[in-house]
């Protein structure tokens, strides 16, 4: 389904179209649910965030402006709810407490690290173990496909800090996956 189709669905949702909502939900429900389950350790909270995301999609449909993609808009609503939860539970660090490190290569596609079902399951486990900020930034890079400067503006962190966080998170995943591979 193209982006303009998604935008039409959102416009219809703003008019109260039930069928349009069903279609949009079917399109992105698995992505929103999967992200929620990986970001939030508590399953019941993760499900609440999924529900709240879709309710906000309906409530804010009349304010939607088709500048970016519909998917980005839905993921942004979800991300804001996840961040609210992190802040409420004091899991969100907004300070620039990141020590510089040498970034060797941050262009690696995470999927290259995972080539089997066992590794995918391990990836889910290790991703959940990452620090909240690392998880959020990594999904902003990988799933939302935002640039470092966009993330920097949204999270009020420097581009250097974002790069360091992404590099460290990927490195941690890589190491854990390698270790797991040795044990498989």
């Amino acid at each position: 389904m193209s982006n303009s189709d998604d935008q039409t669905l959102i416009l219809k949702i703003a008019q109260g179209d039930k069928k349009a909502f069903g279609q949009l939900l079917l399109q992105y429900q698995d992505l929103v649910f999967g992200l929620s389950m990986k970001m939030v350790k508590n399953n019941s909270v993760a499900e609440d965030i999924v529900q709240e995301t879709w309710m906000k999609v309906i409530k804010n449909a009349n304010q939607y402006s088709p500048v970016g993609s519909a998917k980005s808009w839905i993921l942004q609503i979800h991300r804001n709810l996840v961040m609210d939860y992190f802040r409420e539970t004091n899991k969100w660090k907004n300070s620039e407490d990141i020590e510089d490190c040498d970034i060797v290569d941050d262009s690696e596609n995470i999927y290259n690290l995972i080539d089997g079902h066992e590794k995918q399951a391990a990836f889910h486990k290790f991703f959940s173990e990452l620090d909240e900020r690392e998880k959020l930034i990594l999904t902003m890079v990988i799933v939302e496909e935002l640039s470092y400067s966009e993330i920097s503006q949204k999270l009020k962190l420097t581009v250097g800090s974002i790069k360091t966080i992404v590099f460290r998170a990927k490195n941690e995943l890589k190491q854990k996956l390698s270790l797991a591979e040795g044990g498989l």
């Binding site: 008019q15 999967g34 409530k59 596609n109 999927y111 990836f123």
Partner: protein, 111 residues
């Protein structure tokens, strides 16, 4: 090649899907009501604007007509001053004020 987004997707349980759809009903109904309200508001505002525009046009047209009549009368005053007899009055009453100016001038010359 599979992409990274697939890596983050997980099948959402149908139970949760049903819950979302159920809760969505009320909100969608509210959207429908809100949409209907804003449509009615838009129709009312458009009607009001059209009415105001027609009123302005009518008033403006009347004003122009009144100004024209004043100008006509003003143009006729020197002619009226030239009327000397009862015959002139009768003749003058038969003329279309603006179109027959030439005739009036002729009549004036004759007298």
């Amino acid at each position: 090649m599979k992409n990274n987004k697939d890596l983050f997707s997980e099948n959402m349980p149908s139970q949760l899907q049903n819950k979302i759809l159920k809760n969505a009903d009320q909100l969608l109904l509210e959207n429908k009501k809100l949409n209907r309200k804003s449509f009615l508001g838009w129709t009312f505002a458009t009607g009001l604007t059209a009415l105001a525009a027609s009123f302005v046009i009518i008033v403006f047209k009347n004003k122009i007509k009144t100004e024209d009549s004043i100008l006509d009368i003003a143009g006729v005053i020197p002619l009226v001053e030239d009327i000397d007899s009862e015959e002139d009055i009768e003749m003058f009453a038969d003329f279309e004020v603006v179109e027959d100016l030439d005739l009036l001038e002729l009549m004036d010359d004759e007298t």
